[in-house]
């Protein structure tokens, strides 16, 4: 340490020297002072000598330094510095490395301040080293001695003291025991430690505590390891907490077992009545306050409580006010009275003229206002529209009133003209009211639609039929126009004589036109009819009434034994009467009213179909009751029809072309030919046969024609049961194959295993056969499992219905583990439709019942008998519970 210091000092010196050198180099001209200094460089010792005299030199160095520190005016020392610089120069090469190494450290620290604060530098030097200080002190004392002339001891006193303290070379520690210990005195007692503190403020206290400790001195065991310690702690805590928690157990158990838990059952949640709310009212705004002050005024309240007399007193009114009010009232009353009187007078006036005039006036007034005032016009229009709407809604004028109904019930014809007129007027009124303003298309459009309907109907038949219909309609319309005498208006502008004349003229012209049109229609209609006649005849034969008659003609040919029951007779009779009507009506009706004609034969057909079923039983049934009244009727009607048929056929001959007849004959043969075709035609044939049977009662003819088709059919039906069972078995097999398909037969890829005959003989490999056998076995097992396995006569489809899939529970819901238990739990419906009203609430009560608005408080401890069961499920009696818990109940 000292060495480095020295070096640094040397460095310092050198630095300084360098500095100076630098200065020298820098200042070209140089100041005289400096140059002088240089010149005054003192005696210099050679380096070798200096080396030898290291110590003195060091002194010299320090001296020099001190000197340099002390003041710049110390010439000697200054010169010393120069000399040192010189020396340094000489041994440049030796020290360079040192410089280079040490300079950067110290340069900044010591150099810069040394330039400016040289005074401080010596202090730094003093601080520097103790040895140095000793030397310094020694010198110092010597110096002081020299100066003061006092012996050095006087100055040494201080130093001595210092010496005593510093005398210990090492700090006190266990390694450096103090002298006392080394002396063998032994232990340090607490007393020892305390003694130095004697007299200090805390001493007594400390001593007391020490003495206390000494009294019960016990050996302290070593503490347990930490994990053990913690475990013990936990054990203790567990026991403690367990005791604390187990007391809740019955509580929790009860809550868990309770089907329903109630919260806030007895909580009062707010008001329930308006009165309660009103009682809470407090006036807030000024107005409310004012009212409240009046309301709660003591006097008023008092007055109310007693009788009204006091109230009157309180209610003061000035005389003027009262009078004014009375006047006003009187005035109003008199005005009202007068108005009333006037109204009465006006009402009494019976003159129609007057009223008419009045009305006119009013209308006029309204008219003028409408013309002038768009507002009024609008209002009027609105009014009109409203009236129309009202009329349309109420149908007030459409003979819906009691009076009108009564009249109508009695019959209009019976009424006198006045009533009739009134009714007509009412209807007119209705028409007027409900007419759409400025729209005359309405009626025509509806007519069109009806026309269309008709056309639709007509389109069922041929196009020509439609044309005929159309023409007929047109004709009818024109005829109507011709006949319809439009009533000339009796009043208004149109009633003026010249207007009437003009109208008449126009009507005549229109009539002319209509007549022309009518003729045209008729001619074209005739044409069409001529064309149609054969065809319509044909169609009629198929469906129309005419045919019925025509078909009767074939009645003699087919024949059937007397099989008839009641409603055969009925149907017959109707058919016959129809036929009769036919005969009477002219043939054109037959052409026109296609629809009507449609009706009867089909009806007959239906009946005959039904009769078919009864055929089997009626064979014997009828044998049992042969002489019934109905059969008698049948014969009569049948006879009648026979006559009629002749009639109609005769008429047909008269009126129709020969074509018609040929069509009829065709028709007769047709059913026979087309029998095996299909069901529809079969039915036709059935009807024919039915009809034949009916007629057969009368007209016995050849059996053969009837029997060939129908008997076959009959036999087929009657003995259909013969192979029914086989059929069903086959069907079942098919169904089974469809649902549980048969395994494919083992097949080889073509070409495989077919090289030689041996391979061919061997057949498919064994594993394939085995697989096939397995598949077969599987199938058989599947078939055995089916519900219809043991029922030969039943096929129960086991196809799954995808749409119904959603009605099942896809998997067993959570808490359940067995399907049986789950299905047992849902076997009872719990809705109000299936359970008595008393049981439903309990069945559908939720797990938690809580009134809205009530606060659920944390659970509170209450002594509960742990063995007691929550008995009443209806009212679980459990007040609180900890938290939400889920129950399996939700799965239902």
């Amino acid at each position: 340490m000292a060495g480095t210091k020295r070096k640094s000092r040397e460095g310092n010196g050198q630095n300084k020297g360098r500095d100076f050198k630098k200065k020298n180099q820098g200042s070209s001209g140089g100041s005289g002072g400096k140059d002088g200094r240089r010149k005054r460089v003192g005696p210099r010792l050679p380096n070798a000598m200096l080396k030898e005299l290291q110590l003195p030199k060091r002194y010299a160095d320090s001296d020099e330094e001190i000197g340099s520190d002390d003041a710049l005016n110390d010439l000697y020392e200054y010169e010393e510095g120069v000399a040192e610089e010189e020396s340094r120069k000489n041994r440049r090469f030796d020290t360079v490395e040192n410089y280079q190494y040490e300079l950067p450290e110290e340069f900044e620290d010591e150099n810069v301040p040394s330039d400016e604060e040289d005074g401080e530098d010596d202090e730094g030097g003093q601080r520097g080293d103790e040895e140095e200080e000793e030397e310094d002190d020694g010198r110092h004392s010597r110096l002081l001695q020299e100066i003061t002339g006092l012996p050095t001891d006087a100055f040494d006193g201080k130093k001595k003291k210092n010496d005593v303290i510093i005398s210990e070379a090492y700090s006190e520690s266990e390694y450096n025991p103090s002298r006392d210990i080394l002396d063998g005195d032994g232990r340090i007692s607490i007393q020892d430690l305390l003694d130095p503190l004697h007299g200090k403020s805390d001493h007594s206290k400390l001593r007391k505590s020490m003495s206390r400790m000494e009294k019960k001195s016990m050996p302290i065991h070593a503490p347990l390891p930490k994990p053990d310690q913690e475990r013990l702690e936990r054990d203790a805590a567990y026991g403690f907490i367990q005791k604390d928690v187990t007391k809740w157990e019955p509580h929790v158990k009860r809550n868990r077992e309770a089907p329903t838990i109630y919260f806030g059952k007895d909580k009062d949640v707010g008001y329930s009545t308006v009165g309660e709310i009103a009682a809470e009212f407090e006036p807030r705004s000024d107005f409310e306050k004012k009212i409240a002050s009046l309301f709660n005024d003591h006097e008023v309240v008092e007055a109310h409580r007693k009788d009204g007399a006091r109230l009157l007193e309180l209610n003061k009114i000035s005389v003027e006010d009262l009078k004014e009010r009375q006047d006003q009232l009187a005035k109003m009353r008199s005005l009202l009275f007068r108005h009333e009187m006037k109204a009465k007078r006006v009402k009494k006036i019976k003159s129609k003229v007057y009223h008419r005039l009045l009305k006119k006036d009013r209308l006029k007034q309204a008219g003028t206002t409408i013309e002038t005032d768009p507002e009024a016009a609008k209002e009027q229009a609105m009014k009109q529209e409203f009236k129309r709407a009202e009329e349309r809604l109420t149908l007030k004028h459409k003979n819906s009133s009691k009076w009108a109904k009564r009249i109508l019930k009695r019959g209009l014809d019976v009424q006198d003209d006045g009533t009739r007129a009134a009714i007509a007027e009412q209807l007119n009124q209705h028409a007027l009211l409900s007419r759409k303003a400025n729209n005359m298309n309405e009626s025509s459009s509806s007519e069109e639609s009806s026309d269309e309907d008709d056309l639709d109907e007509a389109s069922d038949g041929s196009d020509q039929d439609a044309a005929v219909k159309l023409l007929k309609k047109a004709k009818d319309k024109t005829a109507e126009v011709l006949e319809g005498d439009e009533e000339l208006p009796a009043s208004g502008v149109l009633s003026l004589p010249f207007m009437v004349r003009g109208l008449k003229r126009r009507k005549e012209a229109a009539d002319e036109e209509a007549k022309l049109a009518l003729e045209e229609f008729e001619s074209s209609l005739k044409e069409l009819e001529d064309k149609n006649e054969p065809k319509t005849q044909g169609t009629n034969i198929l469906t129309g009434r005419r045919v019925f008659g025509a078909q009767k003609k074939q009645a003699p040919e087919p024949k059937k034994k007397a099989t008839s029951d009641n409603y055969y007779g009925d149907s017959d009779s109707e058919g016959e009467t129809d036929a009769r009507e036919n005969g009477i009506n002219a043939h054109e009706e037959n052409n026109i009213s296609q629809r009507e004609v449609h009706f009867d034969p089909n009806l007959l057909r239906e009946e005959s179909e039904i009769n078919h079923d009864s055929l089997f039983k009626s064979f014997d049934d009828i044998a049992r009751d042969p002489g019934s009244k109905t059969s008698y009727e049948v014969s009569i009607f049948a006879a009648d029809s026979w006559k009629k048929m002749n009639d109609s056929s005769a008429k047909g001959k008269q009126t129709k072309s020969a074509n018609a007849k040929s069509a009829i004959s065709l028709q007769i043969t047709e059913p026979v030919e087309s029998k095996p075709d299909g069901e529809e035609i079969d039915e036709d044939s059935d009807t024919d046969s039915g009809g034949e049977m009916v007629d057969g009662i009368l007209t016995s003819g050849t059996k053969s024609t009837y029997e060939i088709p129908s008997q076959e059919e009959l036999i087929r039906r009657a003995f259909a049961g013969d192979d029914v069972e086989d059929d069903f078995e086959r069907e079942k097999q098919d169904a089974l194959n469809e649902e549980v398909p048969e395994p494919e037969k083992p097949v080889l890829l073509p070409g495989w295993g077919q090289w030689t005959n041996i391979q061919k003989k061997r057949g498919p490999p064994s594993w394939m056969l085995e697989e096939h056998d397995n598949a077969k076995k599987k199938r058989e097992e599947a078939l055995k499992k089916r519900k219809d396995a043991n029922l030969n006569h039943v096929i129960i489809s086991e196809k799954r219905d995808k749409k119904a899939e959603k009605l099942y529970t896809p998997t067993l819901p959570y808490p359940f583990t067995s399907q049986e238990i789950f299905e047992g739990s849902i076997r009872m419906p719990i809705g109000p439709e299936f359970n008595p009203g008393t049981a439903v609430p309990a069945l559908i009560r939720p797990e938690v019942v809580k009134r809205s608005g009530s606060i659920i408080k944390p659970i509170k401890f209450k002594e509960v008998n742990p063995h007691e069961k929550a008995q009443d499920h209806k009212r679980g009696g459990v007040q609180k519970r900890k938290g939400g818990k889920s129950k399996g109940k939700a799965t239902k």
Partner: protein, 550 residues
């Protein structure tokens, strides 16, 4: 002869039950007597309670899940309480007992004539015996509303009448001027559907035609499924149509493919429609499948009539071969075979079976309660009348007979349910109640897929589907699993360089390939060998030459 006829119109007189109750409550001679009565009553109640419990719950003793067990025990308890309450309600609120007919000594009940019954019963009941003669419009078919209050009668020749049976007044009569084959009421008496010549039509009570259902074609028989709001019809071509009458939507259109028939009946228990065919089979249908649910061979000849017991477990069929069979639909077995022709069959609410042939009507009953039907009553309408349809009037001991000369009504004691439940059907329904019921029933309308053979299975766990064809994903997942397994196989430590990493890797690779193989094969196997390749594979290379040569 002892006759009692159930009559909803008469107020039930003091009942013996009430008397017993009175006894219990007031004058009790002794404790033992009280105990006796109490025992009797409790036994009776137990019987009734069992009915309301709807089967027994599963055994909860073996249940391991204690929590679930607790919950289910509570639930069972509640069920028991509900059933007990229901039994109690039935005991005290449904006091009327059904009518009955008993012969004195050896007197046979089927020998008792209607006029003999008429002289025995009260005036109100005797009024229910009547004949309406309408000779002009052919055989009549009848239909009652479920409450038995209204009747629709349709004559074959177009006469339709809606009659209020309570005051015996015709509400509406109309003549549609074409064949009417069948008529049914829709959900209430305000609407009815009539199967006419070409199409079925829907009319309202005023006789206004509301709809013409052309899609159905020429319908032979109509049925209305009350809970599903479906109008089922079978037409001339054996096509079965289901139309939703609330939306108008055609729910199903099924071709039975078994020919023309007019024998059709709905099973009131499950809504399954049964159709009898000329081949002697009866097929049962639901709207959501094109194939019949059940097809059973009932008779060797054509099936002429069909009826279901209200509880849905019994079916009666009649064949052309003079047999009437009663079937148990749970086992699909014949319970009993009766002899006789039959054109129309009907079960009453209490389970009496009416059959009609010609002008002769017979009623069978299982008087012993063991589903052994024997002759109970007979009746023949005037000679020559052909009965077309017999149908019991609900909640009355009345049988309606539609025949060729109008219709008649006879008394069959013990046929109708004596106590009506106004939630089900109310014979005294006011218009307001009717409206409310309409809304309620609309809200409770069942979708068509709920029609199935056993509707009690709804809500239960879906029956396990047998794997028909594993889907592509399934197959892939399976393959993945197999590969994973192959990869994770543990290799034995072997010596002489056989456990080299390279070897192990190779072996693993091979194992994976092997695991993959069956799946890939399956995939390729799917393509069947095409039939066009007629030549063996080995010869195929010569094909072109041949073609060239040709």
């Amino acid at each position: 002869m002892v006759v009692k006829v159930d009559n909803t119109e008469s107020i039930p007189a003091t009942d013996e039950d009430l008397i017993i109750c009175f006894l219990i409550l007031t004058q009790l001679p002794s404790d033992s007597f009280r105990y006796l009565i109490w025992q009797v009553i409790s036994e009776e109640m137990d019987m009734k309670k069992k009915k309301y419990l709807r089967g027994e719950g599963a055994n909860l003793k073996d249940l391991k899940d204690k929590k679930l067990q607790g919950q289910l025990v509570v639930q069972e308890e509640l069920f028991g309480k509900s059933a007990a309450a229901a039994a109690k309600a039935e005991k005290w609120l449904m006091p009327s007992e059904g009518g009955y007919l008993e012969g004195d000594g050896i007197e046979k009940t089927w020998r008792i004539k209607q006029d003999a019954i008429a002289s025995e019963v009260d005036i109100l009941s005797s009024r229910k015996q009547f004949d309406i003669v309408l000779p002009d419009f052919g055989p009549y078919t009848l239909e009652f509303t479920p409450s038995g209050r209204y009747m629709a009668a349709a004559g074959h020749k177009g006469h339709i009448a809606i009659v209020d049976m309570k005051n015996m007044s015709a509400i509406k009569e109309l003549q549609v001027r074409e064949t009417v084959r069948d008529v049914v009421f829709l959900h209430n008496e305000l609407f009815f559907a009539a199967a006419q010549k070409k199409y079925p039509y829907i009319y309202n009570r005023e006789g206004t035609e509301l709809h013409c259902m052309k899609e159905h074609g020429a319908v032979l028989k109509l049925q209305f499924l009350r809970n599903h709001f479906l109008l089922a019809s079978i037409n001339k071509f054996g096509q079965l149509h289901y139309q939703d009458v609330t939306t108008g939507q055609m729910v199903a259109n099924v071709r039975t493919g078994l020919g023309r028939t007019d024998v059709m009946q709905v099973n009131p228990f499950n809504g399954v429609v049964a159709v009898g065919h000329s081949g002697g089979t009866v097929s049962m249908w639901k709207p959501t499948s094109a194939a019949p649910l059940v097809k059973m061979l009932c008779h060797p000849g054509p099936v002429t009539a069909l009826a279901f017991h209200p509880n849905g477990h019994l079916m009666a069929t009649a064949g052309m071969e003079r047999k009437i069979k009663i079937w148990d639909l749970r086992k699909f077995e014949v319970l009993q075979t009766l002899t006789g022709h039959c054109k129309s069959l009907d079960f009453s609410q209490k389970g009496l079976l009416a059959t009609a042939t010609g002008s002769f009507v017979q009623v069978y009953g299982d008087l012993s309660g063991s589903q052994n039907y024997s002759r109970y009553m007979t009746h023949s309408v005037a000679k020559g009348y052909q009965v077309k349809k017999v149908t019991f009037r609900p909640y009355e001991d009345v049988l309606g007979i539609g025949h060729s000369m109008g219709w008649s009504s006879i008394l069959i004691p013990g046929s109708g349910e004596p106590n009506f439940d106004s939630w089900v059907a109310n014979p005294f329904e006011t218009s307001k109640q009717r409206r409310e019921k309409e809304i309620r029933s609309l809200l409770d309308k069942l979708p068509p897929e709920t029609i199935m053979l056993d509707p009690t299975k709804i809500g239960s766990v879906r029956p396990e589907r047998k794997k028909e064809k594993p889907s592509k994903e399934d197959r892939e997942a399976e393959m993945e699993a197999a590969i994973e397994e192959a990869k994770n196989i543990h290799m034995k430590k072997k010596t002489k360089g056989r456990s080299k990493p390279s070897k192990i890797a190779k072996k693993k690779q091979e194992a994976v390939e092997k695991a993959k193989k069956p799946f890939l094969e399956q995939h390729t196997n799917k393509r069947k060998p095409t039939e066009e390749t007629q030549l063996p594979k080995s010869l195929e290379r010569f094909v072109r030459k041949k073609a060239a040569a040709a």
